[in-house]
């Protein structure tokens, strides 16, 4: 019954994301960073990249420009092609084409980028965090194995609030 409920929610979330949820989504993008440990790098900026459409309009700029994450200035980057992703820390994916999503995930894993998307089945396909909402409450599915492949460490605190954690060892 729980699985049916979860699947139902997963279908509904992307279709009916309200403005309030979008606002929360924007806030959560930055908050995820608090619970993630990236491999050491020499970059002095923290880059949040959106690929494909920008559902937040100027919200991300308002929220993050001039602020820091892990002591680094935040940079918001909007791209449409995987080639343009470059060196990023967080990648929010709104691509519809699953093939493109697969390419992006592969790229992200290679460059230790935290991938986040609201698409259903995103975590199952190799994405790290699938962020949805049910009744304006966050609904998280985390692919731990994918994070490990990306050399990204996820805090147990974040794993604790995930409704589903994909982890081979656990299975």
């Amino acid at each position: 019954m729980k699985t049916v409920y979860i699947l139902l929610i997963a279908f509904i979330i992307p279709l009916f994301a309200s403005n309030q949820e979008r606002d929360l989504q924007a806030v959560f993008l930055g908050r995820f960073a608090k619970f993630i440990e990236w491999p050491q790098n020499n970059r002095d900026v923290f880059t949040i990249t959106l690929i494909n459409e920008n559902p937040f309009e100027d919200l991300l700029d308002k929220l993050y420009i001039g602020k820091t994450i892990h002591g680094k200035k935040i940079k918001i980057k909007y791209v449409t092609d995987v080639k343009d992703i470059g060196l990023s820390d967080i990648l929010f994916i709104t691509l519809d084409d699953q093939k493109d999503v697969g390419k992006v995930i592969k790229y992200a894993q290679k460059h230790s980028i935290l991938t986040i998307s609201e698409q259903r089945g995103f975590a199952q396909r190799g994405g790290i965090i699938q962020l949805g909402f049910v009744m304006q409450k966050p609904y998280l599915v985390i692919n731990y194995d994918s994070a490990t492949k990306s050399k990204i460490k996820i805090s147990s605190s974040l794993l604790a609030i995930a409704q589903d954690v994909i982890k081979e060892e656990a299975e």
Binding site: F28, R31, K34, S155, S157, L158, A160, I161
Partner: protein
């Protein structure tokens, strides 16, 4: 200590003193310990809550930031296993209640309203039943919310009760030890005191200062015993000297008494010699005249009669010339003896010249006086006087008498009596003649 307590025995005083000291010391130490314990426990509870906030903060950070109340509750639930923790509330960055678990028994005392004005990372309020602590939840050096914990003071109370009971037990044990100690000390202190007391009572009853106490220790009691021995020795020594002095004094007193007695006897002799005639033992002239003055004075005062008898031995010169002065003296003695024997007890008889005599008769009218005079005359006349062995003689006396309530001088009275005597001589001797006032 009231005056009544001064009468208590040393044992009671010792027990009181030690018990009181122990109780006061234990009360002070127990109170200090309880206050310290209370402060320590309070500090401990506050520190535990701060640690809890730190640890919980890490665990619930994600649920707080991603608004997952259920997960947050699930994470916090095990904390309530500690029965002392009654209530946990999580507030977001803005101080709004995010979620809570447990029962807020002290609802009115929630610290949520303090968040906006919170200057420190930790706030707490404490009352008899609860310690409420509000701590800031940090994550990655950012304030992500606030955690309020309501902990009962049961643990502190329990701990303090245990400590109080332990203190009470220690107090009872201490008092018991103190009482034992007091009894032991009492023996230690009282034994020498009683020894000293016995010795003093012995001294008082027997007056025997030849006594010595053997000190059993070298402490103050030992010194006391030594001082007592010295005192007894000194008193004994002084007593002996006093005794010797007493003997000397007694001897001196006895001697003095004897001397005084002798002196008194001598004085008496002198006095007798001064007032009596050595030959006849009758009053001498001077003394009978003094008595006469006194009798006249009293008779005047009392308005009573006074009687005078003047007499002499008839032809006494002839006795001396023919029988010798020694026989004359015997005659004088014998006549004096008769006069003394035949006068009344209250009458005074004196020798005022060679063979002249004066008899003063108290409160005697002329009739009484004549009766006495005749008796004297008769007894002298009948008396056979032995002046030597186998040698006797007889003498007679002539008497002049006069009686009156005196309103004239002594000399005038004597003159009247003397004239009466002269008259008796002139009219044949061996008779009584009554004097007449001219």
């Amino acid at each position: 200590m009231s005056s009544k307590h001064y009468d208590y025995s040393i044992r009671r005083k010792l027990v009181y003193f030690f018990s009181l000291s122990a109780i006061i010391a234990l009360i002070i130490s127990t109170t200090t310990m309880l206050v310290y314990s209370y402060l320590h426990e309070k500090e401990s509870v506050i520190n535990d809550s701060i640690k809890l906030a730190k640890v919980s903060g890490k665990n619930i950070a994600a649920s707080l930031l991603f608004i997952d109340k259920n997960t947050c509750k699930n994470i916090l639930k095990p904390i309530l296993n500690d029965t002392n923790i009654q209530y946990i509330a999580i507030y977001n960055q803005n101080g709004q209640l995010f979620t809570s678990i447990g029962t807020n028994e002290s609802n009115k005392k929630t610290l949520a309203k303090e968040i906006s004005s919170m200057e420190k990372d930790v706030l707490f309020s404490i009352d008899l039943n609860y310690i409420n602590i509000l701590t800031t939840i940090f994550y990655d050096n950012d304030v992500i919310g606030y955690l309020e914990v309501h902990t009962t003071t049961n643990k502190i109370k329990q701990h303090m009760i245990e400590q109080a009971l332990a203190s009470l037990l220690i107090m009872l044990i201490t008092i018991f030890i103190v009482i034992l100690l007091a009894i032991k000390l009492e023996k230690m202190f009282l034994k020498p005191i009683f020894t000293l007391l016995d010795a003093m009572q012995y001294l008082r009853k027997n007056k025997d200062f030849d006594i010595e106490l053997i000190p059993s220790s070298k402490d103050e009691f030992g010194e006391l015993f030594n001082e007592f021995n010295i005192m007894a020795y000194e008193i004994n020594k002084r007593d002996k000297i006093l005794h010797e002095h007493n003997l000397d004094l007694e001897l001196l007193v006895n001697t003095t008494n004897k001397e005084l007695k002798t002196t008194q006897e001598n004085l008496d002799k002198v006095s007798i010699l001064a007032t009596t005639d050595a030959l006849t033992n009758l009053y001498n002239r001077r003394h009978i005249m003094d008595i006469f003055d006194e009798m006249i004075k009293k008779a005047k005062e009392n308005k009573k009669h006074i009687g005078i008898i003047m007499l002499d031995i008839d032809h006494f010169k002839l006795v001396n010339d023919t029988l010798g002065h020694q026989a004359g003296d015997v005659v004088l003695k014998e006549v004096s003896h008769i006069l003394q024997e035949n006068a009344r007890e209250v009458d005074n008889v004196g020798r005022i010249g060679g063979e002249e005599f004066l008899i003063l008769c108290k409160e005697s009218d002329i009739k009484t006086l004549k009766y006495i005079a005749e008796r004297l005359r008769k007894n002298v006349e009948e008396k056979i006087i032995q002046y030597e062995e186998n040698k006797t003689t007889q003498v007679k006396i002539s008497l002049g008498i006069y009686s009156c309530i005196p309103n004239i001088t002594k000399e005038e009275l004597i003159k009247i009596a003397d004239d009466a005597l002269y008259n008796a001589k002139e009219t044949g001797r061996n008779k009584v003649s009554i004097g007449v006032k001219n």
